[in-house]
């Protein structure tokens, strides 16, 4: 039973308030893209054991989507941040580095 902080409305809520939306920082590939790129975008998820960046929606709250950095092995939440960004905030990356030295996830580390 996770607890998450919604970075949009500031509410600290439990899992039942939120809806998980899978991997974050997806780069959309539309018409004109290669089969490999499109396949990678739609299906090939990182699915890591450890640090993961993922999307959540505060569905029974403010309704806003946001991103969370979370460990899939311990469920530790390193931080949540706005979904309207292309990469995790440095502050959260630093926090992860302090706790999980040498981590990496897609192009981030």
């Amino acid at each position: 039973m996770l607890i998450l902080d919604c970075p949009c409305c500031g509410v600290r809520g439990e899992e039942t308030e939120f809806h998980s939306g899978g991997e974050a920082h997806l780069k959309r590939f539309g018409p004109g893209s290669s089969d490999d790129d499109f396949h990678g975008y739609l299906f090939e998820k990182v699915n890591p054991k450890g640090v993961h960046f993922e999307r959540w929606r505060h569905v029974n709250g403010c309704g806003k989507w946001f991103h969370a950095a979370r460990c899939t092995m311990t469920l530790e939440v390193f931080g949540t941040y706005s979904a309207q960004t292309l990469e995790p905030p440095q502050e959260i990356k630093d926090k992860i580095t302090a706790k999980r030295p040498g981590w990496s996830w897609r192009e981030f580390s």
């Binding site: 039973m1 996770l2 607890i3 998450l4 439990e14 809806h19 939306g21 959309r28 590939f29 539309g30 018409p31 004109g32 893209s33 089969d35 499109f38 739609l42 999307r55 929606r57 569905v59 309704g63 806003k64 989507w65 460990c71 311990t74 469920l75 530790e76 939440v77 979904a83 309207q84 706790k99």
Partner: protein, 1004 residues
């Protein structure tokens, strides 16, 4: 025999006698009894039969760890199987029956399993037997095994009690109300934390008042009382008895199981209350559980844990026997001997397996004149349904009998195991403490929460701190640490000084005697309920079931209703010994919630029956209910499938509704359709991405039917879009799609195109919507409005605002039935008024309300697709020949790239056509068209399937739509559709529009 003593019974109010019955026998107990103590007071030691061998089973413990004494409690809608007598408080009028025997508890035919067949039924025997002949497993062996297992009877009736859920939030939750829990709660409370302290029993104080010693020089009970008074006076502390910490879950979630009224079944209020608690920190002060010793005959009724014997004497004034032999490997059991002796009972001997014997308590026992034998153990227990005596042997030997002692009870102690369940539920790790021969929490490896920090602290005996003084100090620091971790820096007091006689070291004894021969090992029980013996674990090890999980699953050790509280440690010690490895190398099985079983009712709470999933209702719901609606569940709604008149069948009602609508006038409650506003300067751009159609070119005042796909290309929803103004679109979705499509829009807006200036709002429930369909629809509308609704003023696929029956409305010239049709949308609060007005005004035209089935049939007659029928998540718009709805001009829309993939762009797909049976019958729902031959897996080749099929009253014949391989190129071909029984229905491929192909009826 077991009986009530004249003295003792600190928890009893002997002035109040309670009547109860056991297997129909009327018995008496007193206020304060548990069902166990009351049964024992009536010399009812035999209370059940074991799972496999149906051996006689007596009460062995005094708490939640009891494996044997389970009864069927209560009757009818209050019947509950497998209720532990040790944790059932006696109440007046209680009725219970013993379990798992036939024909009676005293004489059980199943005992043959034990007497004759036990040697043929070792661990895992069923894996090796019953293999031939094959059908006998299902029809003979398995039913027999199932019938002889299973314990309690199945309840038959609906639960008559009520249950509820609580949400609660605390800084510190302390689980366990013994002296450690009380002290930890006090320390945390004094520091300023908001604290919940729960205790599963109806009494505070745990074992300390039974075991004695002093706290700050006083009797432990005085400490308990004083501390309770202090805690009660603290506003930031909540106290709850009869509440068990059932489970610890991620991020500080604790499940509290409060048995509110189990002890007072006629009282008002819920029977159980499930607390769903968020805790900053959890202190587990859950105590410890005594381990049995593994000697031959340790399962015979009358053999009991030493601490339980003591509990029954002190708490309930009940003696288990007149002559009790105490057998132990530690000092604690001496307390039992001393207690019994002080109560005037005989203790013929204390058999101490330790060659060096005990400490201060041993000296005291000797001083009291009790015979103490060191280095000795029990070779075997004599007796059948009751202990009659014990044979003594040297612990170091192989079981040669030195002496036999007559006795009617045996009090055994194999040492204590901290209750580490709650610590472990969420990943807390354990370490093996060699000196104390126990697993205890590893403070370095606590379960971690959302911050990555530990959130559970074990305290007192649960932390392996058994000595009174140690336990209190440990609890104080646990309480302080928990408060500090939750940001409370107030000053706590200091731990009180606890004093009790010091214990000599325990000596691990996993088998008694240590060299017990196979005959003895086959009689030495580990798991009393599931009949797992020392020899079974050794067999498992010999056969290669070396992992502790393998051994558990192969022998069923620890899988009974007590989940191995008494058996697990002994079992894994035997396994370790058999494998020649250290106990920590073997490890434990996984601890899973709940700590002891909790009622499914309490988990369901009050969201059952009418509140299970509340029904969403349109403003016209009550009218439908009053006018013969035959309901159909659709998503969270109920929609009228049809409106039955008295004496009319469902089928006839549907036919009547269709005919009346096609001939004159019908009304459909379309309020459940999704209605979503999309608004903003970039709304057009956004709509073009959502829909396969070009929506940005739609003119205000006009409607357009649109299709939506997911990014994976499959058709997900459809509906009519109306452009309200330059910046505003109103999107209609399917009933089931309203919420998900709105979420879909928000997801794309917020996570991909967040720079686009668009807002969305789901206004589904803000509007009531009524479809007015049929040749007379304009006439009825004109009766109710002064606005112009002529074909010129409001053409097909147009919309406008009018006032109808005095109500401001939007009217859409759209049609799903293929008739002249208007959809009226009014504020929800006016929905019923408009419905009534339309019914009244329509009376002269023979108006009928119609339901979902008539709607389905009429749309099928027109060849319109239905999401969920023509689509199933595997269909793309191109399959449905809806190329006209897929914009060629747009560079992009959701799903466009996916539809370019090899298989989806393949022209050779199954495509939508109409189907007409050659004999006019109705094609079966879901039938497939077969092709010649079979595929590589021997399955019949297919070339199509039915997606919608109905009897059309308009055409008086069966009509259907289906997806057929290259169907549109094969008009006129006849296909074979086998029924489930293999008979063939032949159907011809035809145009999917069966009725009014040119749309003349809707376009007037």
């Amino acid at each position: 025999m077991s009986t009530r003593l004249a003295t003792g019974g600190r928890l009893l109010d002997k002035s109040r006698t309670l009547d109860f019955s056991f297997n129909g026998k009327q018995l008496k107990g007193v206020e304060g009894d548990t069902l166990a103590s009351a049964l024992l007071a009536n010399d009812q030691m035999l209370v059940g039969r074991s799972f496999k061998y149906h051996r006689p089973r007596g009460i062995v413990a005094s708490g939640g760890e009891e494996p044997n004494a389970l009864v069927g409690l209560g009757e009818d809608g209050k019947f509950e199987p497998n209720q532990r007598v040790t944790t059932t408080e006696l109440f007046d009028g209680l009725t219970c029956t013993s379990q798992n025997h036939w024909p009676s508890l005293e004489f059980d035919v199943g005992i043959l399993n034990s007497k004759l067949f036990a040697r043929f039924l070792p661990a895992g025997f069923y894996y090796k037997m019953f293999i031939h002949p094959r059908p006998l497993w299902k029809h003979v062996y398995e039913p027999f095994i199932r019938q002889s297992a299973g314990l309690g009877k199945a309840p038959r009736d609906r639960d008559q009690d009520s249950y509820e859920h609580f949400y609660a939030f605390y800084d510190v939750v302390v689980i366990g109300g013994g002296v450690a829990g009380l002290q930890a709660a006090k320390a945390a409370g004094q520091a300023g934390a908001k604290v919940l302290l729960m205790e599963q029993d109806p009494h505070w104080g745990g074992r300390a008042p039974v075991d004695g010693g002093t706290i700050d020089g006083q009797d432990p009970q005085a400490f308990v009382d004083a501390t309770l008074d202090e805690l009660k006076s603290m506003d930031n502390v909540t106290l709850r008895i009869r509440m068990m910490g059932a489970g610890v879950y991620d991020h500080g979630y604790v499940l509290g199981y409060e048995r509110v009224n189990d002890h007072a079944p006629s009282a008002k209020g819920p029977r159980h209350r499930l607390w769903r608690i968020r805790a900053g920190q959890i202190v587990t002060a859950t105590g410890a559980i005594e381990r049995p010793l593994s000697f031959a005959g340790n399962d015979i009724p009358g053999v009991m844990l030493a601490s339980a014997v003591r509990d029954y004497a002190v708490n309930y004034g009940v003696s288990i026997g007149d002559r009790t032999v105490v057998v132990t490997n530690n000092d604690d059991a001496y307390l039992t001997a001393i207690t019994l002796k002080e109560a005037g009972l005989e203790v013929p001997a204390i058999l101490d397996a330790r060659a060096s014997g005990g400490g201060a308590l041993a000296d005291r026992a000797r001083d009291m004149g009790i015979r103490v034998e060191t280095g000795k153990g029990i070779a075997s227990v004599k007796g059948g349904k009751r202990v009659e005596g014990v044979a003594i042997c040297a612990q170091a030997g192989e079981g040669a009998v030195l002496e036999e002692i007559k006795c009617d009870a045996v009090a055994m102690s194999g040492g204590w195991s901290p209750v580490v369940h709650l610590w472990s539920h969420c990943g807390g790790k354990l370490i093996w403490d060699e000196a104390e021969a126990m697993f205890r929490p590893d403070p370095e490896k606590a379960p971690t929460g959302d911050t990555g920090e530990g959130f559970v602290i074990a305290a007192g005996a649960a932390n392996g701190m058994f000595a009174l003084g140690e336990a209190l100090t440990d609890a104080q620091s646990a309480g302080e640490a928990a408060a500090k971790a939750t940001g409370h820096k107030g000053k706590s007091g200091t731990a009180p000084k606890g004093e009790a006689p010091s214990y000599a070291a325990i000596q691990p004894v996993w088998m008694m005697p240590q060299g017990a021969n196979i005959k003895l090992r086959m009689k030495a029980w580990l798991d009393f309920q599931n009949d797992v013996k020392v020899s079974d674990i050794q067999l498992a090890a010999r056969e290669g079931f070396e992992s502790v999980e393998h051994a558990k699953r192969y022998t069923t050790l620890g899988m009974a209703t007590d989940q191995g509280k008494l058996s697990n440690i002994n079992g894994l010690a035997i396994l370790s010994d058999a494998l020649g490895q250290a106990i920590p190398q073997t490890g434990t099985t996984t601890f899973r919630p709940p700590y002891t079983p909790i009622s499914l009712s309490s988990i369901a709470g009050n969201a059952i029956g009418d509140t299970f999933q509340p029904i969403r209702k349109t403003p016209m719901h009550d009218w439908h209910e009053e006018n013969g609606a035959h309901w159909e569940p659709v998503g969270a709604w109920r929609r009228p499938y049809t409106f039955q008149k008295s004496g009319e069948s469902v089928e006839d009602a549907v036919i009547r509704e269709i005919k009346q609508t096609r001939e004159s006038l019908g009304l459909l409650d379309a309020s459940t359709l999704g209605k979503i506003i999309v608004k903003g300067p970039d709304a057009g751009r956004f709509m073009d991405m959502l829909y396969t159609n070009m929506m940005s070119t739609l003119k205000p005042g006009r409607c357009r039917y649109g299709l939506m796909c997911g990014e994976n290309g499959f058709l997900s929803d459809d509906g009519v879009v109306a452009r309200i103004d330059e910046e505003t679109f109103l999107c209609h979705t399917t009933t089931g799609g309203a919420d998900s499509i709105h979420a879909h829009m928000e997801e794309w807006l917020q996570t991909e195109w967040w720079d686009w200036k668009v807002y969305t709002a789901n206004v589904t429930e803000q509007y009531a919507q009524i479809g007015v369909a049929g040749p007379k629809s304009r006439k009825v509308l004109e009766k109710l409005t002064n606005d112009d609704v002529s074909a010129e003023a409001l053409s097909f696929m147009g919309w406008t605002e009018i006032t109808v029956a005095g109500i401001p409305a939007r009217v859409f010239r759209i049609s799903f039935a293929g008739e002249l049709s208007f959809e009226l949308s009014v504020p929800a609060s006016h929905g019923r008024a408009l419905w009534d007005a339309l019914m009244e005004a329509g009376a002269e035209f023979g108006v009928t309300p119609y339901g979902t089935e008539a709607m389905h049939v009429m749309r099928a007659e027109k060849g319109f697709i239905m999401i969920g029928d023509e689509t199933d998540g595997t269909v793309i718009p191109q399959d449905l020949m809806m190329h006209w709805a897929i914009s060629k001009k747009k560079e992009d829309y959701l799903g466009k790239r996916a539809q370019e993939r090899e298989h989806m762009a393949d022209p050779n797909r199954w495509k939508l056509v109409g189907l007409e049976t050659t004999d006019g019958s109705v094609l079966p729902d879901g039938a497939y068209a077969v092709a010649d031959g079979t595929n590589a897996n021997g399955q019949r080749n297919l070339q199509g399937r039915v997606t919608s099929t109905y009897y059309s009253p308009t055409l008086d014949r069966g009509i259907a739509m289906g997806l057929v391989h290259n169907g549109p190129d094969r008009m006129g071909e006849v296909l074979d559709f086998p029924k489930v029984d293999g008979t063939i229905v032949k159907a011809k491929i035809v145009d999917q529009v069966f009725f009014d192909k040119d749309g003349e009826k809707q376009n007037v």
